[in-house]
């Protein structure tokens, strides 16, 4: 019996940003994101209240998906970060920290939201046009003639996640693998005639093995349960080079009646058993496969044991229960069409090809390795990731997928941004300088007073610098040099007196500026109002040898993150009412 309850009226909150509860929650979220940021970030353990699986992570994707808030404004921001991540994979924490910081600065400055929004918008344009300039000081061209900058890009992504628990050597190994896998998926040769299609990387994770055992193979690794590898199979699998014909099914070939839907079925006693009829049909399919000289017979779901038996008797390699995740890669690699029907004969064009297949032992698992049919470039490759435990393996897997995405983004825009907080400090100095010198015109065109404009400008620049500051979690000091406006983190315990050069590290955060080769640098603590901001100089490549960049971030991802952060901050600032349906 259903009860009729009176519908509660909606709850309307006036200017939510002024509520202390909302502010508290926003601060908490900001702290969580900030403390996760960077290679020294802190991890979060997430689990539910009934003792479910414990997720240990500092990755924004995993974290934001696992954590949800009751606050509509936070939900809004979380959703936009996740949306950004689904398109670019990288810079999730960056977006969050910058967005919260912008909101915070506007609230503290006492500017009216409408004024702040206008100023933020204009400064965002300054930033994007700066980043898109040819001679922008934060940009580095990605050189495809050598792997160096690609590896640096990949390593910056992988090393920024402490929960992967990798040594330096392991980081290098995994970054190289990520680049290797990426290069395998890029087609080469004449691509002018047809549109370029990137291949894909399938990740297989193996727990309990050494990280250095991780590898990349061209082709696919398919999980085969031990019992399925009959002794006769192993012999056949090693048979000479192909190509072999392959049939792929997505429909269940288990021989049950589940496809017929709901309802009763009445079978007359004398009539043949429906199960037998289906089995007959399956065997007919098998017969066709045998006459068509199929060598590899695969199914996403279950294959009836009798059919399996029949196929194996005729020398076919049978693999069942592939799972949906592998279907698309197999289709892409072999050129097969996934068949979703067993009642009709297999159309000849549905067959695909593999060059060969053999059993490979990966860690403790035996897997079937399918070799791609065509040389030269296989479009599909498999990355086997090994790590000592599940938590670190999951984090590593996420990091590698992120690295792959970041590397792919470089194909569209072959540039990277200086990492280690240097882009933020450099950009903040540039924006601050440009804004101050052109304050009068800008204020006039926006229709705000010049003092308001300068207030907004200061907040914007501080927010950018906050991101660089967020890299530090251990009470260290952050410096910025007055010539190039790069970021110089000084670890804690190496106490800093102002101007004490002895304690400043040898290079800046990204590694581009070296103290030894550039005498006469002056430093000042970051995020203090240092008196005069010169237009920061671009680091010339005149010094030899050119210093090695340590950290490189994705240009495309960061540019979009910047836009999302500013727009989200503006949107949240603009919200006057929150109306909640509490029913």
């Amino acid at each position: 019996m259903s009860r009729v309850t009176k519908k509660a009226s909606s709850v309307c909150t006036d200017s939510p940003l002024s509520m202390s509860e909302v502010c508290q929650k926003m601060t908490l979220m900001r702290q969580i994101l900030t403390s996760c940021f960077g290679p020294n970030g802190r991890l979060k353990q997430v689990h539910n209240n009934v003792g479910g699986h414990v997720l240990t992570t500092s990755t924004s994707t995993s974290l934001l998906q696992a954590v949800s808030s009751s606050e509509p404004l936070l939900k809004l921001i979380t959703a936009s970060i996740l949306n950004h991540l689904s398109r670019f994979s990288d810079c999730g924490l960056y977006t969050g920290i910058l967005c919260f910081s912008l909101i915070d600065h506007v609230q503290k400055s006492g500017l009216r939201p409408s004024v702040a929004i206008k100023i933020n918008k204009q400064l965002l344009e300054v930033c994007t046009s700066f980043l898109n300039q040819e001679d922008c000081g934060c940009k580095v061209n990605v050189d495809f003639n050598s792997c160096q900058s690609l590896v640096t890009l990949a390593r910056s992504v992988i090393s920024s996640k402490p929960a992967c628990v990798l040594t330096e050597g392991e980081q290098q190994h995994i970054s190289t693998l990520a680049v290797h896998a990426f290069l395998l998926t890029v087609p080469c040769g004449d691509t002018l005639s047809s549109p370029v299609r990137l291949g894909r990387t399938v990740t297989v994770s193996i727990e309990g093995q050494f990280v250095l055992d991780s590898t990349v193979f061209p082709g696919l690794l398919v999980n085969v349960p031990d019992m399925q590898l009959h002794p006769t199979d192993s012999e056949r699998i090693r048979r000479g080079p192909g190509p072999f014909r392959l049939a792929l099914f997505t429909v269940s070939l288990s021989g049950d009646l589940s496809e017929f839907g709901e309802g009763f079925l009445e079978v007359h006693c004398g009539a043949p058993d429906p199960e037998d009829l289906i089995l007959d049909q399956l065997l007919k399919l098998g017969e066709q496969a045998v006459t068509d000289q199929v060598e590899v017979f695969m199914c996403q779901r279950v294959i009836h044991p009798v059919l399996q038996h029949y196929l194996r008797r005729h020398g076919l390699l049978v693999v069942e229960r592939l799972g949906i995740a592998l279907i698309q890669p197999i289709v892409q690699m072999t050129g097969a069409q996934a068949v979703a029907l067993y009642q009709t004969p297999i159309p000849p064009e549905a067959y695909g090809q593999v060059k060969g297949c053999f059993v490979r032992t990966v860690g403790s698992r035996k897997m079937l390795h399918l070799l791609p049919p065509r040389e030269p470039v296989p479009a599909v490759c498999t990355m086997v990731l090994c790590h000592r435990n599940d938590t670190m393996l999951n984090e590593l897997k996420a990091a590698c997928q992120r690295a792959e995405h970041v590397l792919r983004l470089t194909l569209r825009d072959p540039v990277g941004l200086l990492g280690g907080g240097c882009t933020e400090t450099h950009m903040a100095a540039y924006v601050s300088n440009k804004g101050t010198t052109e304050a009068a015109e800008a204020a006039l065109s926006l229709g705000v007073s010049q003092s308001h404009y300068l207030l907004g400008l200061n907040g914007f620049c501080s927010s950018l610098e906050t991101v660089a500051l967020a890299l530090e979690h251990d009470g260290g000091t952050n410096l910025v040099d007055l010539t190039y406006a790069h970021h110089w983190p000084v670890p804690q315990g190496e106490g800093l007196q102002r101007g004490d050069e002895g304690e400043v590290p040898a290079t800046c955060g990204c590694g581009l500026v070296e103290r030894s080769s550039r005498p006469g640098l002056e430093w000042t603590p970051l995020n203090t109002r240092y008196p005069l901001r010169h237009a920061p100089l671009v680091v010339g490549k005149d010094t030899t040898p050119t210093p090695q960049l340590r950290v490189l971030d994705s240009f495309t991802a960061k540019l979009n993150a910047l836009q999302v952060a500013v727009e989200m901050a503006n949107l949240v600032l603009d919200i006057g009412y929150v109306i909640q349906d509490v029913n």
């Binding site: 997430v46 689990h47 539910n48 003792g51 240990t56 936070l74 009798v306 403790s364």
Partner: protein, 650 residues
Amino acid sequence: MSILQASQKMGSTIISQRLHVGLQQLTALAAVTHSFLGPNKNHKFIQDESTGESSLVCTCFRVLEHLDLTCSVGQLANETIQAHQKVFHSGAGCLLFMAGVWSRAALECLHRGISIPHIVSAMSEGLDICWEVCRSNSVSIEDIRPVASDSGISVLQGSPHTVLRNPVTGMNSSHGALNNKKQSRIKLTHSRHFCANDKADGNTTPGLFPHAVSSKGVDIPHLAEAVSHGCVDAMSLVVEVSKIQSKNNGSGDSCRTFDVNKLVTCTLPGLSEDHSCVLPGCVVLLSAEQASLVHHMKEQKWQVVLINGDLSEKYRHLGFNNKNDISQVTDKLDLKGLSKEDDWEDNVLTTLLKNNVNLVLVNGEASERLTQHCMRHRILVVERVKPDILKDFAETTGAVPVTYATQLSKHCVGTGVEISIWRDCSGNRRRASMAVNIVADRTALVTVVLTTSVHSKLRTLEDCFWGCAYRLHHTLKDRKLLPGAGKTELLCVQTLQKHIEDNGEQTRGKDVASAPRAKQGRAGNPHRADVFQLMADGWMDYISTLMLNSGTCSKVDAWTTINQQLKDLNEGLSLDANFARLLLRDDTEDGMMSPDMKRSAGKVYDNMTVKLEAWRKALDLVFLVLQTDTEIITGIDPKQVEGQSNVMVL
């Protein structure tokens, strides 16, 4: 609505860092298993208050299995331990112990105000140093040979190549250390760390012994003794297994091969422990009725079929969605009274008889009626056979496993199986009471029958046996061993202390102010010495706990002894054999220990890969917990947490 609760366990301020709850939890959890360290294990009873059930445990991973781990750190630890156990089947206790002591070390570092990146970098550097120490001090298994009995106690080091004998020249000068490293590199060509190519190409070759570790020129019984770690009885069973496998492999009577993958255990409660034994093939328990059939089947080769799944009419393969809404309708009276099941039974029986099958091995359950029918036709049906056993029979007899008995045909039948009654166990009113031994021709499969009169000890015995089996397996796989009984740990402590001294000299020797920060990162870590000392204390704790558990001395005495040993080591004296012997319970007064046993006490060895991996994983666990600052609990009702001071709601 999903609500998030964030409990800030550790903020960014130093004061709250000192109360790092996660590290404390890890230390507390590890303390539970301290008594399992060493050869003299104390058993523990775990009792479930709610159900009243209790179980007897003496291994670390079994304890964690039984504990209700509500804290997230506990779950993380359990996950690590089980993963390690799954791969190595040994060393879990060492892992948890080290995780415990090192989390205490990390906590102490936080107390001293050392920042987390510094702790992490120094600790992983410390471990790297000790890895290198272990590698250069590992002993090749070819060098571990029985010592001539009259040479006395002084022959502690089995290997003439070990650096252990001369620690000063080996470690003091950096030049010597370099040489060592090189040497060990060359030696380690068999290690899987350095032979990535070998491994990549190591696709399994089908054959009789795909996994057997070749062990040319190696004395397996002696090696087994070296890694028995006090489980003498279990290890002698392992050696017996090796003997049988070698015989089947054609190596004659000598002990040359050991394949842990061709090994199954069968537990029989009721018999006393001396009845444990090793048999070729597999052992199954049958009812007296079925066993009487076996009497007629003696001393002949029989034909076998293998069934994957249940042997019954109702059974359908995995993934088959059985529809219940199919009904049979009929328009005439069924006079014969034959059900579908009768039809099926007839069908199966005809098939079996047609193919001259005498033995049916079923993975799942077998229909009782069919089993009876088969018996009348002198066909033995054995149910609940382990998949490993089925697989071995498939390989050796040529039988092809099928899911449905109706699909059997001539080529599915395997040949050459012998059946014999091994033992009558009918004393204890069990339904299946006859132990029957089934052996296929040329099989490598060996069954170890473990018996005990105390039922609750069965699992402990089994764990102990598998521990021994895998220790031997890893020994043959690594082809290297580490000096055991705490000697390796002692060397690590010594090396770390040496590094601490060098560190001190370096900083004193240099003009700190003018020294450029040339050495970035690790070398520039100002707290390196502190962290190393705390890490070394962890290993000291390990050795002293070993000694404490052996019952020979108190913890304080242990520390004194260890420090004395360290001093001797530094002065260039070799490790005292007595030191190692301290770890065995000294029963000499009762006349329990023969002089032979005394001598063998000095020759305890540990598995290298297992130990190093356990250390690495322990440190991983500590790092994960150390770097965690917030625990987030999702799905909590906000009203529930009102008034709790240490939680915040998001």
